[in-house]
């Protein structure tokens, strides 16, 4: 259990750092916040992996099939990416070191927590970024209706939540192509644009700044939303709103509620949106 306590402690520290970065002189430092969000995600995975210590099967080497053994509503979102995963995998050279790497992520203080969190995302390589990004865009455009109706988390869905979080988290921490599942829920409008390759060209300095400022404004609005969440410390994360980062912070609430932790999916990507 020590790893769970450790993971929780690291999560609290990470959140504190993100919150403090707002008030630092010089503006938000993108690099540091990105690293902190990666640590936060790793810690969360370890924390939540507790649910799987019993449920983990012999699935260490299995990467398809049982992982996607989830409720129908979730399946609507996942199968397209699962098939894409399979397709990518078949073209991919085997990367044995990636798989055990994912497993070891859950090892803390020599406690070996076997989990079946290894999935095909861990084998994705940068070369496939473009192709998978395009297919993701198609996925995104198909699934906005489902995104709104994402079921409220409940204890019985604990198994579901972990599966839900993992591929998205794995994707974010490893390669770009796989964070969409979660981002679907928030930015269905913007997802449709993500399929377009950004038009890149040499820019005059002034127009460069202007265009970036528009993107930056979107980012800073995420920040302010995030702040309202963090403003009420950990309890702010209790917000059960289905994944909008504009979740209202609740005044009361238990800290460290297991159920609440499942809702960490949406805002974890919001952190990345710094």
């Amino acid at each position: 259990m020590e790893y769970k306590v450790e993971a929780h402690r690291i999560m609290s520290i990470s959140l504190g750092k993100i919150y403090n970065s707002r008030v630092q002189r010089g503006g938000i430092k993108l690099h540091k916040n990105l690293l902190v969000s990666l640590v936060l995600r790793s810690a969360r995975q370890v924390y939540l992996s507790d649910y799987y210590s019993g449920a983990c099967l012999n699935a260490q080497s299995e990467r398809e099939g049982n992982e996607w053994d989830i409720t129908d509503s979730e399946r609507e979102k996942f199968p397209p990416s699962a098939t894409e995963c399979d397709r990518v995998e078949s073209t991919e050279e085997p990367q044995p070191n990636e798989q055990p790497e994912k497993e070891r992520e859950y090892r803390e203080n020599d406690d070996e927590v076997k989990s079946d969190q290894v999935d095909c995302t861990s084998t994705l390589q940068e070369q496939n970024q473009n192709s998978s990004l395009d297919s993701v865009a198609k996925v995104s455009s198909e699934t906005p209706p489902e995104s709104i109706t994402e079921p409220k988390e409940s204890p019985s869905d604990s198994a579901v939540a972990e599966r839900d979080s993992t591929p998205e988290a794995n994707g974010e921490s490893h390669q770009p192509p796989k964070p969409y599942v979660c981002s679907n829920r928030k930015r269905s409008a913007e997802e449709s644009e993500s399929g377009d390759s950004p038009q890149k060209r040499t820019k005059v300095a002034s127009s460069n700044a202007k265009e970036d400022e528009e993107a930056e404004e979107m980012d800073t609005s995420n920040v302010s939303n995030l702040i309202t969440i963090f403003g009420s410390s950990f309890s702010g994360l209790l917000s059960k709103e289905s994944a909008k980062p504009e979740a209202e912070a609740e005044d009361s609430g238990q800290i460290c509620c297991d159920q609440m932790l499942k809702n960490l999916n949406p805002w974890s990507t919001a952190i990345v949106a710094f």
């Binding site: 690291i10 520290i13 010089g26 993108l30 070191n97 921490s173 770009p176 969409y180 890149k200 993107a215």
Partner: protein
Amino acid sequence: MGEDSESPKINHSFLRDYVTEADVISTVEFNQTGDLLATGDKGGRVVIFQRETESKDESEELGESGEYNVYSTFQSHEPDFDYLKSLEIEEKINKIRWLPQQNAAHFLLSTNDKTIKLWKVSERDKRPEGYNLKDEEGRIKDISTVTSLRVPVLKPTDLMVEVRPRRIFANGHTYHVNSISVNSDGETYLSADDLRINMWHLDITDRSFNIVDIKPANMEDLTEVITAAEFHPQHCHLFVYSSSKGTLRLCDMRESALCDKHSKIFEEPEDPGNRSFFSEIISSVSDVKFSHSGRYLLTRDYLTVKVWDLNMEKGPVETYQVHEYLRSKLCSLYENDCIFDKFECVWNSTDSVIMTGAYNSFFRMFDRETGRGVTLESWRESSKPRAVLRTRRIYTGGRRRRGDVGVDSLDFTKKILHMAWHPAENIIAIAATNNLYIFQDRVNAENLKT
């Protein structure tokens, strides 16, 4: 601050320990000849030191024990404010780079988070005297008092060093600028922020070319940022940039206008046995430097320095452990933010020795030929002028010798992040918080404080 006299009645030590945040040195750089050394600090100031070339002692052989003395000080950047985003822009100087000298004046580029400035440093030791219409103080003379005309003459005067801003390259970056690098063509330079790299012409300030853009269409997909970038020392079309994921990308500007697609990517597969919560943080490359030969790359991540051969992409050719004993302490280093420290690394003039900083005022040097490393200390109390640097050891187990420092007694507030090596001789400049130490490879070492 000069040396305080030892007074038995009054203890001045607290004054010595007090460090103004603005005095913390944030960058150190020699110019191409090594005669000038520039330092930038958090307060936006640049201090230039010049090496004294006259040897006063006739018995000195060729090569002077030239001391570096303050040549010029100026305020490069001021605190700024971005009104649109309501963000303060720090005046801290992130990097200084000298331009190759072309005439009597010296030029350097200095940058803070957003703006790059080109400064001209010139000397004036003559001034014109004998104007017809102005008197000695510069006041306009009454015409009626002018009875004859004369030609003004130049008279020698005290040496004055003038520093003037010649170009201001503003509004090129949305994110924080972390690197600048002057191209070997002498006309262009690059500036890199977290997500983009721009190429500028030294004479054109209202326009820059974007040559690398890794900003994803959706910021939520962001997984890595650019941490450092540098032009190749000889090939004006090649540059390298490092990322927070520990990869290096070599780009060739001849391939396309936008170099998002790299020519070569250098990355080392992660060792799965060392995986932890903080693996991503410690694999982030904090500095990348080309060797003088242009054949090798030197990178620094949190625990190691690595030498890469440009011809081999699959991994570094040499890896040196800087402070492996910190690997078990990553969690506490994360808590006190030390894990985010960005150490620099440097080559010596012949590319045979590499150097980087560590904690507790220690810095490490590695001899590439033997593979051995030494730990040296730059700390006022133990370094007197002309004292010999002695090597230090961290006690990590086994036989403990006198003078060994235990890992738990390391002072993590005394970190050596910035340093520079003279381009031709074995002279190094080490920045330790607000102090600058200059060491020479001679029997007599020097100690210089700012």
